[in-house]
Symmetry: C2
Subunit: 187 residues, 2 copies
């Protein structure tokens, strides 16, 4: 008999993060995460494919949000404006999760396998954004260049956002990074 578990997913994520911080990602097992959360391995696998995916569970939601944001931008928006609007909306979604994001970032920075996974997820994000731009009629290479530039802006802003001393919100850091990109590419 499986009892309904209020926020089993959130408890598993918190347990996983705590264990990755304490003993490292490589030395943590799914059994330990489930035990720490007071749940079963079976419940873990109903929520996550493996212990790595706990850290990347948000990337599908982010991709959907960016793709929808690009698609919903006004027709008059330039490709970069469409991407910028979508990034700002994503920034607002992330804002309440800054403490979690900062812990997650430190865990990823300490593990090459996780860094590779992050690169793959970011490349897939850029690909999805480029596809959304093409559906708006943007041609290549403008679509792929705009999408890649947008993801770089997001990544740079995200890294500043999770710095311990940072007090600015993610959306304003995204807009600042976009301005910086415009400045460095200005002819």
């Amino acid at each position: 008999m499986v009892r309904w578990q209020p926020d089993a997913r959130g408890r598993l994520q918190e347990a996983a993060l705590a264990l990755y911080e304490e003993r490292g990602f490589d030395s943590t097992t799914v059994a330990q995460i489930a035990e720490q959360a007071g749940l079963t391995k079976r419940t873990f696998f109903r929520h996550f494919a493996d212990k790595r995916e706990v850290l990347f569970a948000g990337s599908e939601a982010l991709q959907e949000l960016l793709v929808e944001g690009v698609s919903a931008a006004p027709e008059s928006a330039s490709p970069l404006e469409a991407v910028a609007g979508a990034l700002a909306a994503a920034g607002a979604m992330f804002e309440p999760g800054r403490a979690y994001a900062a812990r997650r970032q430190r865990i990823i920075a300490a593990n090459p396998e996780l860094q590779e996974r992050e690169l793959i997820k970011l490349a897939s994000l850029a690909g999805a954004v480029a596809q959304a731009l093409r559906r708006r009629g943007v041609k290549d290479p403008a679509a792929i260049l705009t999408a890649e530039a947008g993801i770089t802006v997001f990544r740079v802003a995200f890294e500043r956002w999770v710095e311990p001393a940072n007090r600015r919100d993610l959306e304003s850091l995204i807009r600042a990074a976009l301005g910086d990109l415009r400045a460095v590419t200005a002819a």
Copy 2:
């Protein structure tokens, strides 16, 4: 007794590419590559760490070239101009190897593991270029944004360059992609 082998490295690369095309990357062994090249496994491992590295052997040279190009740019050059000059020099270096590059690209496109490896190499390239910009006094986030933009430009140009129907040289495609990037980021 090891006889001196004229261009053992080149023969191993050609043998590897032919086998990856014929039977796929995963189904090819180092023993088969060495045999096809008329060399020993021992010779293979003097040149390459493993069968994957045959395909990425040029990335260190590319990184050195880009870093040197950025460092050698005139003091008056903007960060993006310094990167653009380095990319153009790299483009000229690649030009004679277009047929090889096109075959390599098809092999990588067919294999997720190789695509991941390519992403990691490109991220490392961007990191090295950003570091070279910082040594020129460029601050972050301008350094990382310029480096990432430069690597994206290179990648987009490279993909167009290896297309079967392409007749343009890599250097001119790099300059065109840079112009496209400037156009999409213009406010």
